[in-house]
Symmetry: C2
Subunit: 419 residues, 2 copies
Amino acid sequence: MIKERTSKPTEKMLKEAAKGEPLSGEELAAGLKQGTIIILGNTLRAGKVRPTAVGKGTRTKVNANFGTSRDASGIKEERKKIQIAIEAGADTVMDLSTGKDIEQTLKMSLEESSVPVGTVPIYGLAARALAKGCKFDDISEEDFIDSVIAHCELGVDFITVHSGLTLEGVRHLENEGRVTGIVSRGGSFLHRWMRFTGKENPLYTYYDEILKVAGKYNVALSLGDGLRPGSIADATDRCQTTELLILGELVDRARSVGVQAMVEGPGHVPLDQIRLNIQMQKEICKGAPFYVLGPLVTDIAAGYDHITAAIGGAIAAAAGADFLCYVTPAEHLRLPTVEDVHIGVIAMRIAAHAADVAKGLPGAADWDLKMSKARKKLNWEKMYSLSIDPTLARKLRGSRRPRDENFCSMCSELCALKD
Amino acid sequence: MIKERTSKPTEKMLKEAAKGEPLSGEELAAGLKQGTIIILGNTLRAGKVRPTAVGKGTRTKVNANFGTSRDASGIKEERKKIQIAIEAGADTVMDLSTGKDIEQTLKMSLEESSVPVGTVPIYGLAARALAKGCKFDDISEEDFIDSVIAHCELGVDFITVHSGLTLEGVRHLENEGRVTGIVSRGGSFLHRWMRFTGKENPLYTYYDEILKVAGKYNVALSLGDGLRPGSIADATDRCQTTELLILGELVDRARSVGVQAMVEGPGHVPLDQIRLNIQMQKEICKGAPFYVLGPLVTDIAAGYDHITAAIGGAIAAAAGADFLCYVTPAEHLRLPTVEDVHIGVIAMRIAAHAADVAKGLPGAADWDLKMSKARKKLNWEKMYSLSIDPTLARKLRGSRRPRDENFCSMCSELCALKD
């Protein structure tokens, strides 16, 4: 009954998505059929968005979040962030606006972005509730589903739905106890609404409705982890795991009606539990693409969380995570600036590439080989052009010029490479 | 015959070294006896240097390199780097000067630094050879040993000696071929001297002389890896492994006369080969402390190599590496600035701490727990003070002030933590 009008990625989309991948269009189609690969691209944005494959055997992808908050930024700055993120090599962007002009910001994003755009549709509801002084009584179950429908119809390419946060997960949350409770913005809003109304999560109850509209426009579901750990002490606990089990169920249901789904993952996770988390997701969610936030391997480095996330992201992707959400130096401290966005994307791209090399992704290490050959020849122009951030590489070397232009100011003529 | 006057770490040094460690003085003494732990501190600097334990069961340590090059910097800037490195939490520093005033810079370092100071004694010879137009004919075998003796007698706490770079390693280097050849400054200088003279490495031939003077002043030997890979393509090859075998032999010889020794390791290593490298070193060198440079998990990120090194360092330390040499954003591009030193130390401390948490080092995760409890309470002053870089954390949050001082400008009143 659900699948009245299901759009699937077209041949053309598959072909485009295969560019820059070690897989052919046919191989992508096979993964798509199994559900181990998804292709991002709302049919309403056909021709505007670069169809992007996420999943098994594809290059590890990197997402950059942006968006206003109540306290800071506006459409102009957010447009700049999209541009900078794409320039720096982000594969997707997510508009997480919760400030004023939410709808206008999203429309601008969909116009501006050549890469897939994701959102968390219920943020609009949360902002509305906040504006009214945290009133939940005028937010109905229908409002949740309507927010999802609205974003699909606007052309959003993938949406986070926290459909796995159920009353059973909340029971574990309360019963086990946590250091940092809920740290997901969407998860916390849902939890408050559930507590206020005593009802089950409408994104779970009416999941079929979500599948219907997602299928209609080829919107990929990003099954959110509202109960992700916000401190390493909370990692891999009962409430996180309960939610993961529901996410596995929701993957099955999406697949059964031909809707694309991936799963979101933590969060704050100590280094030695990262592989475990990836393996659990891959088993429980039957190989669905895994989209992780970091993970952050320690809680103590606010200001440097692009680094804690790059450590965790590299390990996660090498262990099988498919899609890394960047974390900027601003995390835990402020709304990111344009420069934060730039650094965040580069740091996570380093992690993604290091993981692709480690996994033996065909062709991944060619980039390193070209760079190292140029380095051995002391061919600086080639080294700049092969650097992940050519502008910065040129700037740093230029800022302390060597006397002999063949070298750099670190070792000067003692450069070992001329050996 | 060698051990005419061997100094050992005193009871007092062990007691001081145990501060901030999960091990007691007695446990340190046991590790010291087995050779799995060393205590850095030249007897000539007793009272001036903080005795520092490196090895099994101790907190992962971080070293910061500094030093002039021919092209840049001077004593004043290098003094500032030492101060900044120690403030940022470096456990040791290494003076790698190759510019003018080498001896004065080292004397300043030994005066300035409250933490152990390391050097590569042969750099002075290399700089002298360079100043004379890369002439090797007036550098004798005795000169190599004399450079080592001079540094031990000046009070240096640990010295890198590339005694494992032998003619057999060079044979493999030439025979197997490499993308980036030799990238170690000391290794490349030795190699050129060996090629010029046709002689075996004097640091190997006269290793007993080195042991004699090191033992006299409780100088720890850092057995250098002159053949470390300089690109991920070269990682774990025959010449690197040949050198590691010799380093294992040299550890045995040092232990047999009661001289403290650790082993230096790579370098550029793909993520999936890091654990292998640590396990190989631990087996071949019979549990000797392992001091690694990074490792860098990709070659393509000049300008961000503090991040590539933090990824590799965290994985290496979690797998058993004991001591991480920082890498700054300047690596491959310029002599580091004071700010580069600061960022480099913080990035590697994040890696070291994440690894200590992962290894389950007693007490390591307490820091994270305190931070996360403060975060849950939205206690910003406490969060700042617990941050790895309190000044930066305060600055970032302050730069985009929230309207409501309880939160930050990222989520403002939608902060999930108030759930």
